[in-house]
Symmetry: C2
DNA sequence: GTCATATATGTAATATTATCACATTACAAG
DNA sequence: CTTGTAATGTGATAATATTACATATATGAC
């Protein structure tokens, strides 16, 4: 029974490693509550539920997948319901948009740096956040006189577990 | 009359600097022809025209913008016409998909590294390719045991020229 | 408490981006 | 020239995202 918990989420490939995900998700949710309280922001029922849905796994979910889940839970079933909640979570750094997949994933270490680098496994679709700071530094240097405000950094490839399997 | 030409395109912010764009575009197109010949790939009329359209400026164009142009030139006017040409160009490294914008831009130094880092000006929408190698190196390091196959690296912000203007 | 305001949600309609399936045409090798 | 492969044309549809506007709910002033 491989167990780990999410204070070690800073490891590059935590999502790919076996860990106690129930704890992982609960921890992220608790941190979200604290953060929102600190910032005077409201983690309303739809928003919280949306975050919980994203936290169920280290996969990205499309807005319409989230919407279906929300609708099943009694919330509205029109696209803006999902998009608004997701947009809020993203603004607050509680979720990230994965542009490569047109999908969204929960942030696994909210409250830390607002930028992130994502590793997306092409086989199992698991998503992990890698340390972004060195990458951002390199990008800033490469950018010369360009003033960077926000970044999208995503890598598609094979996670450690899927590298064994060929194909 | 500020003049520059595209052998100096390796400069991070060439697209943002004044330059002889007619030469810039012609050069990229010529290089594309050479490359395709070398690789035994066919730069057919739709494909070439698509590339020319993208090369008209350092802006990204949506697939439907490209499609409208192609249709006006007598090519088919159904989405696959544009998407197929764009996909081909991307596979060949002659164009890039800018995920942040759901749009496509011509590659300004085809034949070189297949990965790139993009700088997107939020005001003037100009797009520039920055040296990606240092960024890719940093990303590979951050990625630990994850095996990176392809990357999406984009920065949104203000180009040198637009930094003067407030807003 | 209650009122006024700002914030958040519900809903309908529509816009934008992207893919699938299949018929037809052009090309290149033998 | 014929034959197999690659490329294109076309219609239909899927998937993603936004706009506009009505309704409700929370929050702060009084």
């Amino acid at each position: 029974m491989p167990q780990d918990h999410c204070t070690s989420c800073a490891k590059p490939d935590l999502a790919f490693a076996a860990h106690d995900h129930a704890f992982c998700a609960a921890d992220a949710l608790a941190r979200a509550h604290t953060l929102m309280a600190d910032r005077g922001q409201r983690l309303t029922p739809v928003r919280q539920r949306t975050l919980e849905i994203l936290l169920e796994s280290h996969h990205a979910l499309g807005a319409y997948d989230v919407l279906a889940r929300l609708a099943a839970d009694g919330f509205g079933n029109q696209p803006p319901v999902a998009y608004r909640a997701l947009e809020f979570l993203e603004e607050q750094g509680l979720a990230h948009r994965i542009r490569r997949l047109n999908a969204f994933a929960a942030c696994m270490h909210p409250g830390e740096s607002h930028s992130a680098a994502f590793l997306i496994c092409r086989l199992c679709s698991l998503i992990s956040e890698a340390p972004a700071d060195p990458v951002l530094k390199a990008l800033a240097t490469s950018a010369g006189g360009f003033d960077i405000e926000t970044t999208t950094i995503e890598a598609l490839g094979l996670c450690p577990a899927c590298q064994g399997h060929p194909r």
